[in-house]
Amino acid sequence: MSRPGLITACAAMLRRDLTLAWRRRGDIAMPVLYALIVTMLFPFALGPEDTLLQRIAGGVVLVTILLAMLLALDAMFSSDIEDGSLEQLVLAPQPLALMLAMKILAHWLTTALPLIVISPLLAGMLHLPTSVMPVLVLALLLSTPMLSLLGAILVALTAGTRRSGMLLALMLLPLCVPVVIFAAGAVAASQQGLPWLAPIAWLGAALVLLLVLAPLACAAALRIALDA
């Protein structure tokens, strides 16, 4: 008998969270529907003018997806705290940060990935040129994991508090400003035919930094939340 390896433990965590998400597939559809409806409101509000919509398309899609992700963020650790699974996870002979990284990965796969899949549709509704779509998707692939990771730290920090949803939004949105600037910058540059690699590289660098640090911060914050 020996302690299971890291890969076994990671796989168990990932499978657990994906199965849980699949049992509640209705919840996966919510952010997608939200993003669709919000994007649809813009042409109604601003008029179906091609040039105007094209100019705002990249930014609108980015911000809409950011807000849609915020809807589902709240639930990242709450049910695990309520039913005691988190205690068991903390006590398990596995590195907590890595296990939480798996939870964040599962969360990203179930909330952000569906949004990225429909992002060309959202952008198309706002007449974003097809040539810009790959850059938009690339920017989303790099920026949405950052939102999940930043969000996870804040969810862990607000874990003990009641009605943390609004507080979470107030804390997360300012932190998202650099992410939005670089992601929207890449899309805008590509739209104007300028080189767009630099902002994408910045997003990549920031993502690597967060990938390493965010799970550690989450683990520390959740340990403090339980120690009360």
């Binding site: 008998m1 039913d83 002979p93």
Partner: protein, 215 residues
């Protein structure tokens, strides 16, 4: 693990607390608590509601920090990274996901903690009286059945020390007998256990060390 357990000299306690104290907003929950728990020994933590039984359990498990005093594990000051996986904590919150079935829940626990013996999940569930409910979501089980599903972890996971917080709560008479049998087998195997109880139901097999908590 069995080999590691027998390596420890008989006189050396598995777990020892020295002048353990815990404070909540400067009010003592308990103070200067001393006890030694040897291998093969059962400690019954007794006390009224609010006397700090659960708090003590959470401190021993490593969920709460030690305010005052010392914890010793196998004769040395306790280091959490050296006794990882040696303690199994079963609290009021059972740590079962309501959307998953008992067998799925147990498989996750196995993936994180590892297998003690080659008992299958199905036979462990049969032993706690949940055969036929393996694939039912936990949310549809009764409180007692949920407790039994959590108790199946005791059969499957490796740990030298069991920390059971109110293991008899919600259980019927056969369930209580089941917990007692698991405890006896664990002690005979070279394990140790700490069990909280408020005295209504208690362990009937053999001698147990009684640890009294005062509010």
């Amino acid at each position: 693990m069995t080999a590691a357990i027998t390596d420890v000299p008989d006189n050396e306690p598995l777990l020892e607390t020295r002048a353990l104290g815990f404070y909540r907003q400067d009010e003592p929950v308990f103070m200067s608590l001393n006890f030694r728990l040897h291998i093969g020994e059962l400690g019954l933590i007794e006390g009224d509601n609010g006397s700090g039984k659960t708090t003590l359990m959470r401190i021993l498990a490593g969920l709460l920090h030690v305010d005052e005093g010392e914890l010793h594990w196998r004769g040395k000051p306790l280091q959490r990274d050296q006794c990882l996986g040696e303690m199994l904590f079963l609290g009021h919150q059972l740590g079962l996901k309501a959307d998953l079935s008992p067998s799925e829940n147990l498989r996750i626990a196995l993936g994180l903690h590892g297998h003690r013996i080659q008992t299958s999940v199905t036979s462990a569930l049969a032993e706690v009286g949940l055969s036929g409910y393996e694939d039912e979501p936990v949310r549809r089980l009764s409180a007692g059945q949920k407790k039994r599903a959590a108790l199946a972890k005791l059969l499957l996971l490796p740990a030298a020390l069991w920390l059971l917080d109110e293991p008899y709560a919600n259980l019927d008479r056969t369930g209580i007998a089941l917990v007692n049998r698991f405890l006896q087998e664990h002690l005979a195997r070279g394990g140790a256990a700490l069990v909280t109880t408020h005295g209504a139901v208690s362990f009937h097999g053999g001698e147990a060390q009684r640890i009294r908590m005062h509010a």
